[in-house]
């Protein structure tokens, strides 16, 4: 069979997509399709699970299998898919509202369970689809439609949260640093256990406009200046300038995943005559 090109993981007849001019979602979607193409995963063996939101529409543009769930619950649906059909590659696409605000509890427990899913959380620092409301990743003092005089709350560092909860793989990338983002997603997919990739991405329409961050091009430039590679000398000294954030692989371990642990429990139960499937 000839190799699939990355474009063959896209459902091109659905294009143009609904995202705004300069929205980073399309760039992240491209990175995902290139990661899938590099791994040459059969499209029907990949299940992309989404919640609700602008990023949550991504499955509409993919030629893989898909399960479009409800807002905040994509990880719960994905956990069910993986538990029932461990042989499938399950990729979960969530916005920061979806994955870390309404769905934050599912996130920490999926990481604790170390279930073999790959979660790609697109962090655009607000609820894009519903008009730019505050989310759990909106920085303190930032203006949103529900924090018009500035956000009194601090934002989550999602990578540290998921790392502390026990995920095997944690990485952060941006839609400016695309070749790296492709690799981070690819490595997350091949990694057994829970993989978490945070993608920092502009929402020029809401977050950018309200915080006077300029055009999509300006917001992309800001990603370039603010991101610090985790392997750089600056990152090693730990002295990062204000507004800077780390990109790259932030945690990488090989603890047994949920499927392996559950199989061991099943064996034990069978040996005691207490299990029939």
């Amino acid at each position: 069979m000839p190799a699939l090109s990355w474009r063959e993981y896209l459902d091109e007849k659905m294009l143009p997509h609904l995202w705004c001019p300069g929205c980073g979602n399309g760039i992240a979607l491209g990175a995902l399709t290139r990661a899938l193409a590099e791994l040459q995963l059969p499209r029907n063996k990949v299940v992309v699970v989404t919640g609700i939101g602008c990023w949550g529409k991504a499955d509409d543009y993919l030629a893989t299998s898909a399960l479009h769930g409800t807002h905040g619950r994509a990880l719960a649906f994905a956990t069910g898919v993986k538990a029932a059909r461990p042989e499938l590659t399950v990729i979960v696409l969530m916005g920061d509202g979806d994955g870390a605000t309404i769905g934050g509890n599912h996130l920490i427990h999926a990481a604790r369970r170390n279930i073999d899913l790959t979660a790609v959380v697109l962090n655009n620092q607000n609820y894009g689809m519903t008009g730019g409301q505050v989310s759990a990743t909106t920085p303190v003092d930032a203006v949103t439609s529900t924090t018009r005089y500035g956000n009194p709350e601090r934002d989550f560092d999602l990578c540290r949260l998921v790392d502390a909860a026990g995920a095997n793989y944690v990485a952060r990338g941006t839609v400016y640093h695309v070749p790296q983002l492709d690799r981070l997603i690819r490595d997350g997919i091949t990694k057994k256990g829970f993989s978490f990739i945070e993608v920092i991405s502009p929402c020029p329409t809401h977050f950018g406009r309200r915080n006077k961050l300029g055009s999509a091009v300006e917001m992309m430039k800001a990603l370039k200046t603010r991101a610090v590679n985790v392997n750089s000398p600056a990152a090693k000294t730990g002295e990062l300038p204000a507004g800077a954030f780390l990109i790259g692989k932030l945690a990488d371990r090989d603890d047994p995943d949920f499927t392996a642990r559950y199989a061991a429990v099943q064996q034990k139960a069978q040996a005691k005559g207490g299990f029939s499937s």
Partner: protein
């Protein structure tokens, strides 16, 4: 010379390809849409294809 295709039905004039092409291959028309002005400088690095949020660019791929 590398073939560069811009799909006008997909392009939303965000300007990202124009701003970040390392070889400044693109100029802009009056609406901000990219125009290939210096095709001979293109090294087919593919960065514009990867950063275009709208899948509107093809560089050196077999034509459709």
């Amino acid at each position: 010379m590398t073939r560069i295709n811009i799909n006008p039905r997909r392009c939303k004039h965000c300007g990202i390809c124009i701003a970040f092409c390392p070889k400044e291959v693109f100029g802009a028309d009056y609406r901000g849409a990219p125009v290939v002005e210096r095709a001979e400088k293109c090294t087919a690095c593919g960065l514009c294809v990867m950063r275009c949020p709208d899948f509107a660019l093809e560089v050196g791929e077999k034509g459709k």
